[in-house]
Symmetry: C2
Subunit: 78 residues, 2 copies
């Protein structure tokens, strides 16, 4: 099975990388671009029947920083 973990900066947290990308996009001809936020997309190959609860814990403790980021785990094929 395959899991996709998305990790995004929390809406209340400053995202300087996203702000820089938005500024660059404005200079490159997309003047009306709004907010840009940059997070991580983590693709994990797992044996079928892997422990999804453990995967959730690892996503929280290892793959994201819950102080400043939200994460979501999605199983894409079993």
């Amino acid at each position: 099975m395959k899991a996709l973990v998305t990790v995004m900066p929390k809406p209340s947290v400053l995202d300087p990388q996203g702000a820089a990308a938005a500024e660059a996009m404005r200079h490159l001809g997309m003047e009306n671009v709004g907010r840009v936020r940059i997070g991580k997309l983590i693709e994990i190959e797992l044996p079928d029947g892997a422990d999804e609860a453990r995967l959730n814990e690892i996503s929280r403790d290892l793959l994201s920083n819950p102080v400043i980021e939200d994460f979501e785990v999605k199983i894409v094929n079993r």
Copy 2:
């Protein structure tokens, strides 16, 4: 409208960040984890009717490095 741009390392390219995450997951009790790849997820707020062709060019030229990364642009709401 909102666009989601995903940028992932090409399958043939070494992803040391992903390899380190896989190794750490094995130490944390998921011994059977397979390949892990870490990419970027970029969330872009745009005015309705924004130029999607231009967004594609910018995703290729600014948001990704086409030598080592693949990108995909998805419009999630209009």
